[in-house]
Symmetry: C2
Subunit: 225 residues, 2 copies
């Protein structure tokens, strides 16, 4: 390992990343959790995360921990850092600061198993999670708020869905994230007015009247920050 030349006043802190990874399952917004295999908080559920390596970008560390601890195969469709948690006593092992990330996993990310250091991995209702280790309940809460505000501007909801999807499915994603019902007509009007969706022409068979399929237009690029 390379030796560093940090100034003497640099406190020795551990730098970690934690990831709140969301996906839609059964019309509900779910969050990916792992069951810790080691102390502290052994057997307690927690957000996947771990220590950043020396020459690793923060978002790379987040991706790596997500893969290592949950054995997911699909790449997240969205990944952003959203807050850094650094209260001195947040981790009993010492001073550990965590850069928290928000991830969106695409539809179909169902199978998860425990990975290195974890007993298990699984999906849980994002708005009503089980008891969580460390300050992860706070982290999750803030992740949800960020997800909600992101939804207003961007086309982030599309990242939860497969290539083609129906408008009722898209509305379900919005309703799951915002935790409230939306008006069908207003929702359609608003979404179609944005010009991000193009009609895919085909139809999908279900129980009632078949829904029209859409896909995201290639020009879905507007990240007006």
């Amino acid at each position: 390992m390379k030796t560093l030349t940090l100034p003497p006043q640099a406190a020795q802190v551990g730098l970690a990343v934690d990831v709140a990874a969301f996906a839609m399952h059964e019309s509900e917004l779910q969050v990916l959790l792992v069951q810790r295999g080691t102390l502290p908080h052994a057997q307690v559920w927690a957000l996947p995360g771990g220590f950043v390596q020396l020459h690793e970008e923060l978002h790379e560390a987040a991706l790596r921990e997500l893969r290592e601890e949950t054995s997911i195969s699909l790449e997240p469709r969205h990944l952003e850092q959203f807050y850094t948690f650094g209260a001195p006593e947040r981790d009993p092992r010492g001073r550990i600061v965590s850069v928290a990330h928000l991830a969106v996993l695409p539809h179909g990310t169902v199978q998860v198993t425990g990975g290195s250091g974890t007993l298990a991995a699984g999906w849980f209702p994002a708005h009503t999670p089980p008891p969580l280790a460390f300050d992860h309940a706070q982290i999750l809460e803030r992740a949800l708020r960020r997800l909600q505000t992101r939804l207003e501007y961007a086309q982030l909801a599309l990242e939860f869905l497969p290539e083609t999807f129906t408008l009722p499915e898209l509305q379900e994603v919005h309703e799951a994230i915002l935790a409230k019902k939306l008006d069908k007509r207003n929702f359609r009007k608003r979404l179609l007015a944005q010009g991000l969706l193009i009609l895919s022409g085909e139809r999908r068979n279900g129980v009632g009247r078949p829904a029209q399929l859409y896909r995201r237009s290639k020009t879905a690029r507007r990240t007006t920050v």
Copy 2:
């Protein structure tokens, strides 16, 4: 110094805070910079900042560095963490991750001098700063964007002004942050409709017609974290 029991895989990184502190001077949005006294980037201007101490909250570290390096006396009226910069090569001394903070200093924070480790401190136009050390130009840019989005919702602009102020003064703050002119009538209508301002009755003498003085209503709370 207390010995920590960090897990072996915890990379040894330095944890720093940097502060983009803004104030209004001469109808312009200004940012507080310090001239570095040590390598690397000696004599180059930079955002005030430094290493977090072991048992210190992140925002406390930000406040401490601000005071130590710039000798300001007034407390910031707003302080929030807004992004964490962690590119592996952002600091030539080694892996140093910086939790960047946004601060608003009240009107009257004029005198600043260099402090420990800095040659000088001074105010610079926030939208057109001098060359900056490390990745501080990026940090400042993101701080400005955050300031602009904060302005929409909150009463953050009030933090730039003294106890009592006039509507033209408040409009100047908004215009300086957004870097664009606003319509006087629309601005007044919008701000007064929010109910955050109460008429202070007095008047202030100037060149033309005197302006009415306002103060913030009691329900407008401070936003320092």
